[in-house]
Amino acid sequence: MHDSVVIALRDTLDKVTGFIYPNELELQWSILIVLYPYLTGLVAGAFILASLERVFNVKVLKPTYRLSLLTALAFLMIAPLPLQVHLGHPERSFNILFTPNPTSAMAMFGFVYLWYLMAVLLMEIWLDYRKEIVGWADTDPSWLKRLIYKVMTLGVFKPTEKSFVIDDRVGRALTIIGLPSAVLLHGYVGFIFGSIKANPWWSTPLMPIIFLFSAMASGIAGVMLLYMFLCWARDVEIEMPCLDTVAKYFLTAVIVAFSLEMLESIQTAYEAEEHFDIIQLLIEGKLYISLIVIQICLGSLLPILLLGLTQIFELPEKVRKVFYAVSGTLSLIGIFAMRWNVVVGGQFFSKSLMGFTTYKLELAGREGLFSASVIAVLPFFVLAGLLWLLPPWENKPGGAA
């Protein structure tokens, strides 16, 4: 295993430009660590969309409420996987939970994650579905599903109406707790990078909030596209008031995220500290395509333009749908590029600020494109399973979904 790394690094040696510290040749955080904030961001964004319906009573969003929750759960279940695969000693990862270092941002991951998964998401989904689960446990035609539902009722087969009222209240309270938790989960991911003073590309107090808003944009775009896709797959009419509202929130998130990113860039350029020269070279060189073209032009400006048009003009439904689908897809690609630019981009230049190393994405191997693609696709399989078990739409379980 390590031989291939060493051979690849030997090849990289003559691709260094300028001067880097000898240990900086190897890029420490690869595509898997790009994937991690991306997946977590989708979780936080999807959950925040769900909270809008529940906490702020945006009733029109009802059709996407459960879908958002299930999407958040599916992505949350896979989110730690890229981290785990990336570790040198995955078998020791439980030490993060048993002997966390209180000064380490990363050590808090396990706790924030468990809190979010166990206390917030699972509880909220269960409470929301409880009434149906009890019904399905009796009526579902498949014995396997009946068995799973029976386990999921936790032994209460005849809950009273009063208990559903309590469920609803607890569920609402959970969402209210969940909202800051989602913010914490993703804001914290930004902090992992933003708190590294050794790296001027990362070290900014804006990092958590930039991550948060781009997470919201990606999560809302993800749920929006999933909703459109599922309606198409189930041959059901899209509820346009819902889709229009989701798109409106999506536009807001994209605008805020983009403004914050630009604010940060302008500040860096204006202050022009010691590290500015190397950052400028980085943006004009190695990150030109992924930052200027993909992240800014295609991933932010074009979606803002398209979504803006839908707000200004009364476009026909068909056109709106196309605009939403295109801007959602572009934004998801753009936000992936943003994670790439932060994580990989931040490791291209030397901390001596005098040169660049390079990164060649391998196809195979633990940190290769193949394993990253598998991890990126996994949440959709989890989501398919969840949709099979807990259909978010109001038709009979077991029917053609």
């Binding site: 510290y21 240990n23 040198g88 030490n95 000064t103 030397s350």
Partner: protein, 253 residues
């Protein structure tokens, strides 16, 4: 609930404001007293420090070789616990820095030597930070500072997340390709504890490197710090390195 008369309310507000103002006025005095921080080596003996005299370094690279041998560092040029950088600053202010193979096998000859304004070698190693970013970020506490001031890694506990490598401003850490854990200069802690100096110090033919006990005012490092104008690398990071340099040029990163 009892109603608060307006007069009482005003009195209460005024006294709260006055108290806050008095505290604010007294605060700078209190802060000024706290501004002087006692060096940690006053409290703990021994407390290890390191000094480098740049003017004495001839760039022979024997320190790098000795370190790799002593500490089983992979022989590849991209894994080093210590290395030596060569700076060539030309008369037109063009700066060239190199450290081929960490400086272990010497350096290629200088082109157009007549255009060189100055040239020097800078040995690099763990900066022995008092406030180590690497210790701060390690999620499991596998990287820790010993009570005598040395930052070490517990190889049996490190999970290999590489966060510490990102956090070190000096690039002194690498990921060990065989052990799959982070690795760094330990200032030959195993030797220090037995009363020996580090392998690099022992191998240095010119005495450009020094290791010693900062808590002893008569030690080589204490005397060196006392008698010379010394500097640390990247002082703005607030890491408070216990590795100091004499003769550090402003171009050195």
């Amino acid at each position: 609930m009892r109603e608060l008369p307006r007069r009482d309310f005003l009195k209460l507000t005024a006294s709260a404001l006055l108290t806050a103002a008095a505290a604010a006025a007294a605060a700078p005095v209190a802060w000024a007293e706290k501004f002087y921080r006692e060096p940690p080596w006053r409290r703990k003996k021994p407390y290890w420090g390191f000094c480098v005299d740049i003017e004495k370094c001839i760039g022979c690279g024997r320190c790098v070789d000795a370190c790799k041998t002593e500490n089983d560092v992979p022989r590849e040029p991209f894994y080093v616990r210590t290395w030596v950088e060569r700076y060539i600053i030309r008369k037109d202010n063009e700066i060239k820095i190199d450290s081929p193979n960490g400086g272990m096998d010497g350096y290629p000859p200088v082109e157009n030597p007549e255009t060189v304004a100055k040239s020097f070698f800078v040995p690099k190693l763990c900066n022995l930070c008092e406030n180590s970013p690497c210790v701060q970020v390690c999620p499991v506490g596998a990287t820790f500072k010993t009570e005598d001031g040395v930052v070490l890694i517990d190889r049996k506990y490190c999970i290999g997340c590489r966060y510490c490598i990102q956090a070190c401003p000096y690039g002194t850490r690498y990921f060990h390709p065989i052990l799959q854990v982070a690795d760094k200069c330990s200032v030959c802690y195993h030797r220090l504890r037995r009363g020996k100096v580090t392998a690099c110090v022992e191998a240095c033919p010119t005495g450009a490197r020094m290791v010693g006990d900062l808590s002893d005012p008569q030690s080589n490092v204490s005397k060196f710090r006392e008698n010379n104008k010394v500097q640390t690398l990247k002082a703005n990071m607030g890491t408070e390195p216990k590795l100091v340099y004499k003769g550090l040029d402003k171009e050195v990163r």
